[in-house]
């Protein structure tokens, strides 16, 4: 609602300042060769890595879209990713001790269940108990942030798990053997799921009655209610979907490396927050959210690849904060995208 002219200019100032600081850092560390190095590492295998990195961010983002479009702001995405990642590794580790064996797919399914269960609790807290969604979402994050290392220590006596199995790599015959493009056609199942989930989510939101209900529930719940659709159910569905998506994202992240890292900000390390911004940038469109997520993931992957370039001495930490700075700059430039009108507000049908 602010006049955009002032907004943009002031935003530009802050953004330029932050970017200036980063650039300064790069120069100080001798980042002049950066461009040459960047050009050197971009390849098909780099893109494949970027896709793997996109999985947790994009799934969190798409999950967030469903929740927020239905009227429940879920800022606990980060927490749900942590739960998904931890549950995946813990299940795989636990299953190894049972007759079933360390079935990765079963562990994956259990992780999705765990994340969905936490999302259900969040939904109950927000919808039945009318909690402030921002504070409750924050609590979900903080609880997950404390619970995952707590449980890791209980199970493994340290915050990081031992290695469990990873997903197999699926290869498209023939194409995967192409000389330079090959790596793009061999992907892990979560990446394949992601490639399927983006059009599916778009379709669900834009072409089905359910998508219309989600939109109406977030924009004008009373209109939906008076049209005879139960707003609470639609909102539960939205939040539970965010739990399912985050479960897939978190499990995909953890089973990619086959280990859960619970120290510091855990292995999720802010990817849920980036996902949250990715869908704001993507303006609540799953495709846009995916593209924004891919951009962030590509930056992240770039940092890893650059570390392997001989003689490259730009600080990893500094490159690591680029996605966050980018988010800040984008938030400032774009201003606030138009949120669903009723997002964050409780809805009582009888009152």
């Amino acid at each position: 609602m602010n006049p955009p002219t002032v907004t943009r200019r002031q935003g530009l100032g802050i953004g330029a300042l932050l970017f200036g600081l980063i650039l300064l850092g790069l120069v100080v560390d001798g980042g002049r060769s950066l461009l040459a190095d960047v050009a050197g590492v971009v390849s098909a295998s780099y893109l494949a890595a970027a896709f793997r990195f996109t999985v947790p961010i994009a799934f969190a983002a798409m999950g967030g879209i469903f929740a927020e479009k239905s009227g429940v702001i879920n800022i606990g995405l980060e927490g749900l990713l942590i739960i998904g990642a931890f549950a995946a590794v813990a299940s795989a580790w636990g299953l190894a001790a049972t007759p079933i064996g360390a079935n990765i797919w079963l562990a994956f399914g259990l992780a999705v269940l765990a994340s969905t269960f936490v999302a259900l609790l969040f939904a109950v807290v927000c919808i039945e108990f009318k909690a402030d969604q921002i504070i409750a979402g924050l609590a979900v994050w903080l609880i997950a942030l404390g619970f995952a290392p707590f449980a890791s220590i209980i199970i493994w006596d340290r915050t990081n798990s031992p290695s469990v199995g990873t997903f197999p790599v699926w290869e498209i015959p023939v194409l995967a053997e192409l000389p330079s493009l090959g790596p793009l056609f061999s992907a892990t199942p979560p990446v394949v799921l992601l490639v399927l989930a983006v059009p599916f989510s778009w379709y669900l939101l834009n072409r089905t009655p359910f998508g219309m209900w989600i939109e109406a529930s977030g924009e004008d719940p009373k209109a939906l209610d008076t049209a005879g659709v139960d707003v609470r159910r639609v909102r539960y569905a939205g939040v539970l979907l965010s739990g399912v998506y985050c479960g897939i994202g978190g499990a995909g992240l953890a089973l990619n490396t086959g280990q859960f890292v619970g120290s510091g900000d855990t292995m999720v390390d802010g990817r849920g927050w980036i996902g949250l911004t990715a869908y704001l940038i993507g303006n609540y469109n799953p495709v846009g959210a995916f593209l924004a997520s891919f951009l962030f993931a590509a930056l992240d992957a770039l940092q890893l690849q650059l570390q392997q370039v001989a003689g490259f001495d730009v600080s990893a930490t500094l490159v690591g904060i680029i996605p966050y700075v980018a988010v800040l700059v984008v938030l400032t430039f774009v201003g606030r995208t138009r949120m669903p009108s009723a997002a964050g507000k409780h809805y009582d049908s009888d009152e």
Binding site: M1, P3, P4, T5, R207, T208, P209, G211, M212, W213, E215, A216, E219, D220, K222, A223, L224, D225, T226, A227, G228, V229, S341, S349, D350
Partner: protein, 552 residues
Amino acid sequence: MEGNAEASGPEDRGREEPTPWSGEEPPAVHMEGITKRFPGVVANDDVDFSVDRGTIHALVGENGAGKTTLMNVLYGLYEPTQGTIWIDGERVAFDDPGDAMDAGIGMIHQHFMLVDTMTVAENVVLGDEPKKWGGLVTDTGRAVEETRTLAERYGFDIDPIERIEEISVGEQQRVEILKTLYRGADVLILDEPTAVLTPQEVEALFSVLSELIAEGKTITFITHKLGEALRAADEISVLRDGTLVGTVPAAEATEEQLASMMVGRDVILEIEKPPSTRGSALLRVDDLVVEDDRGVTAVDGVGFAVHTGEIFGIAGVDGNGQTELVEAITGLRPVESGTIAFAGREVTAAPRRERIAAGMAYIAEDRQKRSLVMEYDLRRNGLLGCQRLPSFSDGWRIDWGRTDAYVDDVIREYDVRPPDARASARSLSGGNQQKFIVGREFERDPSLVVAAQPTRGVDIGSIEFIHDRLLGLRAAGKAVLLVSSKLDEVRRLSDRLAVMHDGRVVAVVDPESVTEEDLGLLMAGERPTGLDPDAARSEASEAVEEPAGGRR
């Protein structure tokens, strides 16, 4: 109609009950002994209400009389605490609006239940979408087609693929009607349908209603405008304090009779207005251009002067630049070009704080957003805008003792209920919120009062009170700028009346002599033939040309 079968209890079947209604044919709607209690409030108390098929029934009453509650009960939004409902002679009990819809009842709410970001067709079919591919996908094509067919049948000029946010209020109302018709409604309930419309749009609505009656529909509408009830309805029911005062045929009723039924005492509809002793110009606006939030020009070259001892009214349909004009004058919105002079000083770019200090009081249009902090108690609200005035603080420390005394004074003098300075603004009724604001703004002895929609959403008692106080200010030689979309209000109170359309003052007229029809045309941006254009223009230029600079 499954809802009915399920709803009527088994004990009703196969037993001859004496019909609760008179006459052979069952009425379309019959409600008997409806009581609806909310904690601490009885919204409906043993109300009987009946509408015959193919008629228009108006439900009138003050704000808070229980009209909307009664209709929400009929529409299944509320479960009645006691009482029974028959539709077409069949006893029903609705659990939710879905049941009511199944029974052929449709409601057009005062706040349209439309999703702004979706298209007309999507809104019409929401909740009952045509599907294809085995129910997996919305059949958008069919939704558009069915909407178009329906609109053509009732003569609505509506494009099904336009988004709600792009169409006018009148069109949105027709979309609401389409929504109910799409669901097969036979009984339409309209909640205050004319509140947001221009006189011309009201006419159009009434012809839509007669079209619907001709197609065999039954209509109930809620209003507090007695003239409209008399004009459009066949029968009129009056509610007061949650109880039914009576039902009269419109042909036999008079406005005075209905008004006294509504209020429970005789009401003087005309306001006694002593002749004004108009002084010098206190507020002068010249060639003002203001933009709205989206950067579109909303006020386009407006000029006028408000004098001491007069009420200068501005009439117009909402959204024609009045809001932006008022915000520019009060210092809440930047001015693109033109000047504002107040109390002999140019204040075009002065911050709002200086205008307050110079004696400008302001009753904002949106009191819950602007004039009150809903979370604060009255004591803290009493300080809003006054916090840096010398009688409330030294600019650093708040003098709570004097603030408390001031607030207690306002509460007593302006009859704010409950009389509790510690009550939160949120807990007060709209009328009491507004009386408190009026008191806070008037009691610090301003020289100019800008009153925007001062009686919107306020009960009749408070309206009378506020009108009285505004005339009191005028008598005390203050200047008042009154902006209202209520025609009767601006006409009765104003000494001079400007009409705004599309960001311009299209005419300044004498409120005594102008006819309602002419005002309606002016508000719609047309120049009525009956009105002498020269007279209007000279009045307008006089307002602009008079030298500024008051006594202060």
